[in-house]
Symmetry: C2
Subunit: 560 residues, 2 copies
């Protein structure tokens, strides 16, 4: 009977221990990681870095090897923020080709059952991990992230998030048994006896729309949550960050084919210029799941228009830090400075609005005026970025011209506390590198700070008091959403008030970060990324709600 029996799958057996550990991790939400984040040769071997770099370079100026049906066209749309010529040509397919191939692949994948699917997914992660340096190079040169960050966020951490999504998917698919007996007492007569079969049935074709800045990290949870729950996945990369997902699709197809499944369960959908491929795919009646990371405008459009699908979005917001007081002024400045400098603030989690009482704050170094607080943070950023060779390893490169335009625009909206500088990259002379800027605003400048200025742009905003800061947090994040919020305060009652405000506007809160944890970073298996409780995202990566509606249970029953 279709989907009824499930024989142990060798790939499931191979990865059962990893899965078990991941299943524990998602219930404990403590620290755990399956994929080492250090690119050190001691961890990955002496030749791994060079091999990965060579594998990456072998793709450049050539046709990307993908055994996928297409229309014969190729597309090459990538422009590296590091100024490196990529010119990788990807085979193009039509929407009809993609949907037809995905649809044809669905039944056997559905009928293989949760264990086989999860086994294959875990093998794909394993394959990607074996090629993580190749992946990291692709992320670096398309996103503009510095190498170590690309290795971590784009490689190890992305794989952790994928594993987390697979674990949730497995838990959700197996929370009910595949079959159950039902025996209802019937007074003095024989009981009524039924046997019931519960099929895990995928929704249909799943679409993943990737972004430019985090092509893997932001795509993997949706990709693997959909795939593990039985849905064929069409991966539509950002035109400027195709390679990391092309590599992902290549290895996924390799594993699928080796395991005897249709490789078209994972397809790449690179788009030609102005093709609007994402929109066409998202509205296709066969597409039943859409995962998207990117602008609020497009995310809102998808939610409003892709009505035939379950749509999971991560959009823009107003990440905010409330600064009330601190017992470690230097640590606070260092910590915030790192957050602002990392990847030139081009993270959906980077703090934009720093709310500081205009009368200043109390610290372990005595009272600090508003200007001293702003200057302290600016100095921390300055220190990280002063030396170009060291600085570019934090900032990476600027992902696109939109960021540069905003940097020009923002210099005119208020007093510049920290000027953005152009830095020449010591290794890649054509790289576009800019250091962060901090601009002073007043609480009354609502129109300026209540929009997102994506990039290395933050505002030091003078408020009347911490209570006023919390009011601004409530109103701005309440309206526009946010992925992160922070608070610095020595008084528990202030931390409590901040936490209540964060709960009310549904934003995750980091309190008094002064060490090696940063408000813009979330740890897989422990931190939730996004809450789904405000306008910045309609879901979290990853939790039960993120996976539970990617499949449905269809049951059958009969007398025993």
């Amino acid at each position: 009977m279709a989907g009824m029996t499930e024989t142990p799958h060798p790939l499931y057996d191979r990865h059962a221990e990893t899965l078990t550990r991941a299943l524990t991790a998602i219930t404990e939400r403590g620290y755990w990681s399956a994929y080492p984040e250090s690119p050190s040769p001691r961890v990955y071997g002496e030749t791994a870095a060079a091999d990965g770099r060579a594998a990456f370079e072998a793709y450049l100026n050539g046709d990307f090897p993908l055994d996928q049906a297409g229309d014969g066209q190729t597309v090459a749309t990538e422009v590296s923020p590091f100024g490196v010529e990529l010119n990788v040509r990807y085979p193009h397919a039509t929407v009809d080709q993609l949907v037809a191939a995905a649809t044809a692949a669905l039944p056997a994948w559905r009928d293989a059952g949760p264990q086989a699917r999860v086994g294959v997914c875990l093998e794909i992660l394993d394959r990607l991990h074996k090629n993580v340096f190749e992946l990291a190079n692709a992320v670096q040169f398309t996103s503009g992230q510095a190498f170590v960050m690309a290795f971590q966020a784009g490689g190890a951490h992305a794989l952790d998030r994928a594993l987390e999504a697979i674990a949730y998917a497995y838990a959700e698919m197996t929370r009910h048994p595949g079959t159950a007996g039902w025996e209802k007492p019937a007074g003095k007569g024989d009981p009524l006896r039924m046997s019931k079969t519960f099929h895990v049935v995928p929704r249909g074709v799943a679409l993943v729309i990737g972004c430019n800045t985090f092509p893997t990290w932001n795509s993997y949870p949706g990709l693997f949550a959909s795939l593990a729950t039985g849905n064929p996945v069409v991966v539509k990369p950002h035109p400027r960050a195709v390679l990391p997902l092309a590599i992902t699709v290549k290895y996924a197809r390799q594993v699928l084919a080796e395991a005897g499944f249709d490789p078209n369960l994972v397809q790449l959908a690179p788009e030609a210029a102005d093709e609007k491929l994402a929109s066409t795919l998202a509205l296709h009646p066969a597409v039943k799941i859409v995962d998207f990371t990117g602008s609020s405008e497009y995310g809102d459009w998808l939610e409003a228009n892709a009505r035939q699908a379950a749509v999971y979005t991560e959009k823009a917001g107003l990440n905010t830090v409330v600064i009330d007081s601190t017992d470690d002024f230097a640590g606070m400045c260092r910590n915030l400075g790192f957050t602002l400098a990392l990847y030139s603030g081009q993270m959906c989690t980077t703090s934009q609005n720093l709310l500081i009482p205009r009368g200043g704050i109390e610290t372990d170094q005595g009272h600090k005026s508003f200007d001293e607080v702003a200057a302290g943070i600016a100095a921390a950023v300055g220190k990280l970025t002063a030396d170009p060779a060291r600085g570019v390893e934090f900032t990476g490169a600027i992902v696109n011209d939109g960021v540069l335009e905003r940097l020009e625009e923002v210099a005119k909206v208020g007093e510049v506390v920290l000027e953005s500088r152009t830095v020449e990259h010591p290794t890649f002379p054509a790289a576009v590198v800019r250091t962060p800027t901090i601009v002073k605003l007043d609480a009354t400048d609502t129109a300026t700070y209540s929009r997102e200025w994506f990039g290395p742009i933050s505002f030091a905003i003078a408020t009347n008091s911490t209570a006023h800061s919390l009011e601004i947090l409530r109103s701005t994040v309440g309206e526009k959403g946010a992925l992160t919020a922070g608070v610095y305060a020595t008084d528990e009652s202030v931390l409590d008030a901040a936490e209540t405000a964060a709960i009310e506007v549904g934003v995750h809160l980091s309190c008094n970060l002064t060490g090696g944890v940063f408000v813009n970073q979330s740890a897989a298996f422990s931190d939730f990324h996004g809450s789904g409780a405000n306008a910045a995202a309609n879901s979290a990566l990853t939790d039960g709600a993120y996976v539970a509606n990617r499949f449905r249970i269809v049951q059958s029953r009969r007398h025993v």
Copy 2:
């Protein structure tokens, strides 16, 4: 810290055993029930039935006692299918009053935490169960169900479904801990240590829109799933079935107040004629969850328009039975006859389209022609309804004039195999009672059978073959959806083919039902009601997906 601590709640302790048993039941999906379905005095005591009847009658021709803020108006909109004058006057409130009161009640309920909320919800079920005869009378005289059915479906089974929803909600809210330690190794240095708090945060005000036929059974899962997860609930009953939900709200408010919570966590929203209250409430920005049972037209409207809310709908469909062969012809006819007669087919799960090969079928009684199969089922219905006194205990009364109009209309669309009869109710002379009709159609009469004819109306449809029947199942259910499907076949390969078709169109399948289980009935804790995988419903009552998105997790973290 808001929502951080959770002290054991006495009501949680009181019902912990029931909850534990329910949590086991939802993972096993075997037989279990918490609320006895037999209204026998041996179960409920000698006076329970009379007391419940008296309590019900005390509401008639009076002001319903509800301590809720309102606008001073009262509404009385109910018309009993049994012809009994109800004339219960309910206090009316404006949308603003309802939303304001619900919003004010939210924070303390949110901060009480999962255990306290679930304890209170279970105490509400207990209170309703103590008054289940009162509830059953209210369901009977508003829906038109016969008493025993009203007691079971409207009382005991509705409470079981509520408990099931609460169990899923509890499991989902507690699958992550409230707090977690996080300790990340940092080479030779001290590990990074954080403590994290995970708050369960409700989405906002929840709206439950009740239906006329199953005012409690279809409303309870959403009501209690929303309430348990922290959302204040506004209950908007169908204008013709207010009393069962008014009683529900009354006891819920009683329990909430006794437990020290704001009774406005559960409010009744009875509507005045032509007020369009459901629509106004559903579009209110504060309303973040909508549960609805009713017409496809309105359900689709809600899904398309209540965009600020998570919308859970159960709508109409084309419930279908494929008849291929049987080794128990008499049992098959009896079983289907019961399904068609029960509550005059006014269930969202009643079979409408009976697909029978025009060449007839093989049975234990030899070959039966198409007409003999149709006649066999018709005879079974006839037998159940022949005696008016006995018949009305199956059929109950007709819920509204729309059903009567369809009965007139359907007599003209094909050859009538079984005529609908008007029956005089022996106890309630003004009751509107009709027996089921069966009309013969051909597979080519697509326009007729591919719409829902809600009421005691079924079609015996002549198809070319069972393969053709399955094709029709695929196309009609694929397009319009269905909540139930059945198949009769002696050959495993036919059962397999039917199961594959059912999986593809996402409909639950009952195979070869010939005894005391019926295709139109689902058992709480075991059967899923609706699949969420076709057009008849976008969700199932109840599963993980039904509860997981009614709250969000908002976290905070700090250094240890």
